[in-house]
């Protein structure tokens, strides 16, 4: 009797392993009757999991922490992608007519991010702090991700902190240039995204959790062996191809969370004491 699992995902390459597992029938092999639900707004995924509309959903690490801070019983069942210095895909871009030399140049400027308190924003602020730029001297505004290039072009913002494929596209269209690899500068190797489920569900369905993890493993194997076919599947599920794949990583460890917990503490993001060990499913 296969377990029915609805998997929520946003259109991002981080989760390619799951698309592949779905596409290649790997989930079925591991006794999971999976359906994929595309959820455009990442911050909705925890609510969708809690409401039971989906059983497993993808999210970024800060969101997992926020949800737990709010009191939701959500746990990380697997990792998805890491951001590494060798292979960056999140950067700070300056409008083409702006000459950026040092972090202090940002003082008095407006920076567009795809979501306040998103992983991109949290890391950006941590970077400002690291570089001794006062947070209240930089205006951080939120805009819809696909609009950020146009906002940059029309001078609504001076900088954007943005993720691929738009990152690359802005550079290609000469709308802006990469100013700083701020993400990698803060932490050269960090887990940014992972798979989420409710603690309750995980307790009741240990087999399904195990199956899911195995399926993701196999999916990653497939990607390594068939990068071209994986690109085809990527396009099929999210509508476009990223310039390159991120560093996939399906193992989530408590240490990965500790980094963001500390950042959050520094930026006063959380109100409660969170225990990373309880949030990551061993």
């Amino acid at each position: 009797e296969p377990t029915k699992v609805a998997i929520g995902y946003p259109p991002a390459t981080d989760f390619l392993a799951a698309y592949v597992a779905m596409d290649q029938g790997i989930f079925a092999k591991h006794n999971i009757d999976a359906t994929m639900v595309k959820i455009p707004v990442v911050s909705n995924i925890p609510s969708a999991v809690v409401s039971g509309s989906i059983q497993i959903g993808m999210t970024t690490i800060p969101v997992v922490l926020q949800a737990n801070d709010g009191g939701l019983d959500l746990v990380l069942v697997a990792g998805a992608a890491r951001h590494t210095k060798e292979h960056p895909f999140i950067s700070l871009l300056a409008r083409s007519d702006i000459k950026y030399t040092k972090p202090a140049d940002l003082i008095g400027k407006t920076v567009g991010v795809p979501g306040i308190n998103s992983v991109i924003d949290v890391m950006f602020r941590k970077w400002l702090v690291n570089n001794h730029v006062p947070l209240d001297k930089v205006k951080v505004v939120e805009g819809p991700l696909p609009q950020l290039p146009d906002m940059l072009k029309s001078a609504s913002v001076d900088y954007v902190a943005i993720v691929d494929p738009l990152r690359t596209r802005i550079v290609e269209t000469k709308t802006g240039d990469i100013a700083a690899e701020y993400f990698a500068e803060v932490n050269p190797d960090v887990l940014v995204s992972g798979w989420l489920a409710s603690g309750d569900w995980v307790k009741k369905n240990p087999e399904a959790v195990k199956g899911f993890r195995l399926a993701i493993d196999e999916g990653l194997d497939f990607i390594r062996k068939n990068p071209e076919e994986a690109k085809f599947i990527e396009k099929k599920y999210i509508g476009y191809n990223s310039p390159s794949f991120p560093t996939f990583n399906n193992k989530a460890r408590p240490e990965d969370l500790t980094f963001f917990l500390n950042v959050g503490k520094e930026l006063h993001l959380y109100r409660s004491q969170l225990d990373p060990k309880k949030i990551v499913v061993p």
């Binding site: 946003p10 259109p11 595309k38 707004v41 609510s47 409401s51 509309s53 738009l166 509508g239």
Partner: protein, 249 residues
């Protein structure tokens, strides 16, 4: 014919201006595609059936929510309109609930209903009920007092009083509330789909946006307007129904 021509002046000229300015390079924004690209994208979506399915899903929920709002709005509105004391007692609470954006209740609705029709329809109903309620109260209060007295003297029971006097007399005005709410129902249904509910036009819209298919996104928006236009046309024809005959010219 003349009317059609007159009505076409503004839309046609703005479309031409848009197309030419983006072709001549006056307008080079990526998220604003050209009218011609939009038509092509729309045609493709229409051909593969995805557009019609999404339309059906959106309309179904929007109308369902609107129907709930209409029934509640008119029923409560007529009572509050006819009984000033009731209006003064319940009015302040209504006024406090009215400005709360329905979207704020989405997480709550999600917990109650999960993804699907219930989630969306309940949010739509919440948003739509207020205009209908307010306009109905005003419409009922604007009814010629003599007619209410006629109903009182004839001792019409509540139901007959509603169907024979109050609703026909207030119909045209209530219909304005309905038309406002019909547009709102579409807007809110689409918004819920954009933000949360994975179905319908709004979902397709945000997916098109997220996957950077700007032409398709605009095509969906135009299609949405078309849908609202048709819905409004239907409602304003219904509105002319029983009452228009006696309306002086």
């Amino acid at each position: 014919m003349r009317r059609l021509l007159l009505g076409a002046i503004i839309p046609v000229s703005s479309l031409v201006a848009w197309e030419t300015s983006s072709r001549t390079g006056l307008l080079t924004l990526e998220s604003l595609s050209r009218p011609s690209d939009i038509v092509v994208a729309g045609y493709v979506a229409l051909r593969d059936g995805s557009l019609l399915l999404a339309t059906l899903q959106t309309c179904e929920t929007a109308l369902f929510g609107l129907a709930i709002a209409t029934v509640i709005g008119i029923a409560v509105g007529t009572i509050l309109g006819l009984v000033p004391t009731a209006e003064r007692v319940a009015g302040p609470t209504v006024e406090a609930l009215r400005p709360i954006p329905a979207i704020a209740f989405m997480p709550l609705a999600l917990m109650m209903f999960g993804f699907g029709v219930g989630l969306e329809a309940s949010v739509v109903a919440y948003a739509c009920v207020w205009p209908i309620l307010i306009v109905t109260i005003a419409a009922v209060r604007a009814i010629e007092g003599r007619l209410i007295e006629v109903a009182a003297v004839l001792e019409l029971p509540l139901w007959k009083r509603m169907t024979k006097i109050v609703l026909p007399a207030a119909f045209e005005r209530i219909n304005i509330g309905l038309r406002v709410s019909a547009a709102i129902s579409l807007v809110v249904a689409v918004t819920v789909e954009i933000v949360l509910n994975p179905r319908g036009l709004g979902y397709n819209l945000i997916l098109a946006e997220q996957s950077l298919q700007i032409g398709l996104m605009w095509a969906l928006l135009v299609w949405l307007c078309l849908l609202g236009y048709v819905l409004n046309l239907v409602l304003s024809h219904v509105g002319r129904g029983p009452t228009a005959i006696w309306r002086p010219l």
